[in-house]
């Protein structure tokens, strides 16, 4: 996926090293290799590769990871601009 890079310095991903217990779950679930565990601690090695899918935060046992998850889809974002985020979910509304 190194051929496919999207906008830099936009991801809402945050990581709290102190809370990390080094379980490695984030490294397993991330589809873009954003995390790497070394010396029993995870670290963010490619923040610009993050697509904010939210898998890491959802599976972190100590809430050491924070991210505003969402779908990077222009049509969906337009819908949220028009109708607001509540009661409008990608796919359930007339999106994809």
């Amino acid at each position: 996926m190194q051929d496919f890079r999207y906008l830099y310095d936009v991801s809402t991903l945050s990581f709290n090293l102190e809370a990390c217990i080094g379980c490695g779950m984030c490294e397993i679930v991330c589809p873009h290799g954003v995390f790497k565990v070394e010396n029993k601690k995870a670290g963010v090695v490619d923040k610009n590769g993050c697509m904010e899918c939210g898998a890491c935060a959802k599976n972190c046992p100590t809430q050491a990871i924070g991210v505003t998850p969402g779908v990077g889809c222009a049509s969906y974002i337009i819908q949220t601009w028009i109708k607001g985020k509540d009661g409008n979910s990608c796919g359930i509304a007339k999106c994809c």
Partner: protein
């Protein structure tokens, strides 16, 4: 030959006579078929399978049913039929795509035992088929959960492939009676919607994150539930991008109908207030430009994506759009004027940029923060170009 339903007896008797005249092979065939010789219409279909139930239709991908402690479980065929392939192609074109689900519950592949692994998947038929065809030499249980006919990753993003649904389906299906272990293999991409810890807490089943792609599942199982790094990374090959094009186009059909009406109406406005002749002759040029914009933004951008400069998709679309617009201008330069050519140029570029930006929703790597940032910059520019195009197009009709 007792099966005379509607044939006439003369004909039957004549068989005996004919056999003397016809080649030997013919009579053999006829004799072998004697019992099932159909007199009217084609021969009858096969006998009903023993597991047929009134009110249920047996899916064609089911080979048989096996008995388990949780009731009878369908065993899948691991070879895709022509019908499966055809339906997949249609779904790729947006036909029947929203009602292409299968019943949730336990299925099996091969001859699984109580120790065999449990693969959890979505109930979108395209997803199920992708998994099914990889299981030809695998003995496993498959727990299909109800994602309302949506693929794994999208369903996880929409909260349909969720912790709740996995836990619920494990309980309803009686999986704990079928297997002696307490482990589920979930596709890695479902992690967006599923918390492994919560599934364990609420169902007693431990989640093992399987590979992203179904075609790695056998290697994963054989390696003792271990995935190497490539199995854990999404890809976006040219083929993976290409198959997305038809469905992108299918989304454009409805809005395009309104746009075409708009184009012909605007093209007819002129010094005669509205000219049908102009609506047609100028409209067809504008439709040509619109089509070029679609080709450029919804087909060329997805296919040659990574070779296009820029990170923003609206920029990529604007680049291919500029090239497409150049071809449109070269094609039409002898039949129209500078004003119209400028309007068409802007139209192609704006449409292409917008559609390129729209492709963000189909990629596996664009973040919502990034898309929103890009849109805030690109949409005003696209809208301005579109508006300028319309103004120039209408204005040109008065300048001629």
């Amino acid at each position: 030959m007792k099966d005379n339903c509607c044939g006439n007896s003369d004909k039957k008797e004549s068989f005996g006579n004919v056999s003397h005249l016809k080649p030997f092979a013919f009579t053999t065939v006829m004799q072998n078929k004697k019992e099932e010789a159909a007199c009217c219409g084609p021969p009858p279909g096969p006998e009903c399978v023993r597991f047929a139930r009134p009110g249920y239709e047996i899916c064609r991908f089911i080979e048989e049913f096996i008995d388990t402690a949780a009731g009878s479980v369908p065993k899948i065929r691991t070879k895709l039929s022509m019908a499966d392939r055809l339906m997949s192609v249609l779904a790729r074109f947006g036909i029947g795509r929203n009602s292409y689900g299968i019943a949730p519950g336990i299925y099996c592949a091969g001859s699984p035992s109580a120790d065999s692994p449990v693969l959890v998947t979505a109930n979108y038929k395209l997803t199920f088929d992708a998994l099914r065809k990889e299981l030809s030499s695998v003995d496993a249980w498959i727990l299909v959960i109800d994602t309302r006919g949506i693929n794994v990753w999208c369903a996880a993003g929409k909260g349909l492939f969720s912790t709740e649904e996995v836990v619920k389906r494990v309980k309803i299906s009686g999986l704990d009676k079928v297997v002696s272990h307490r482990e589920l293999i979930l596709p890695q991409l479902s992690a967006t919607g599923v918390s492994a810890i919560d599934v364990k807490k609420r169902s007693g089943f431990k989640v093992v994150w399987g590979p992203i792609r179904a075609n790695d599942i056998k290697i994963f199982i054989d390696a003792g539930m271990k995935a190497d790094e490539p199995m854990r990374r999404v890809t976006f090959t040219i083929l993976e991008r290409f198959v997305l094009v038809p469905v992108e186009l299918s989304f454009l059909v409805k809005p395009s109908l309104f746009i075409l009406i708009g184009i012909f109406l605007l093209s007819g406005i002129g010094t005669e207030i509205f000219s049908l002749k102009d609506a047609w002759s100028r409209g067809i040029m504008a439709v040509f430009a619109y089509a070029a914009g679609i080709l450029s933004g919804a087909i060329v951008v997805p296919v040659i994506l990574q070779w296009l400069p820029g990170k923003a998709f609206s920029v990529k679309g604007a680049i291919t759009g500029t090239i497409a617009a150049f071809f449109v201008v070269m094609t039409l330069k002898d039949v129209t004027n500078m004003w119209e050519l400028t309007a068409l140029f802007l139209c192609v570029t704006a449409v292409s940029s917008y559609l390129g930006m729209n492709f963000t929703g189909s990629t596996p790597y664009t973040s919502p923060s990034g898309v929103e940032k890009e849109m805030r910059k690109a949409i005003p520019v696209q809208a301005l170009a579109g508006l300028a195009s319309i103004v120039l197009w209408i204005g040109a009709a008065f300048i001629r």
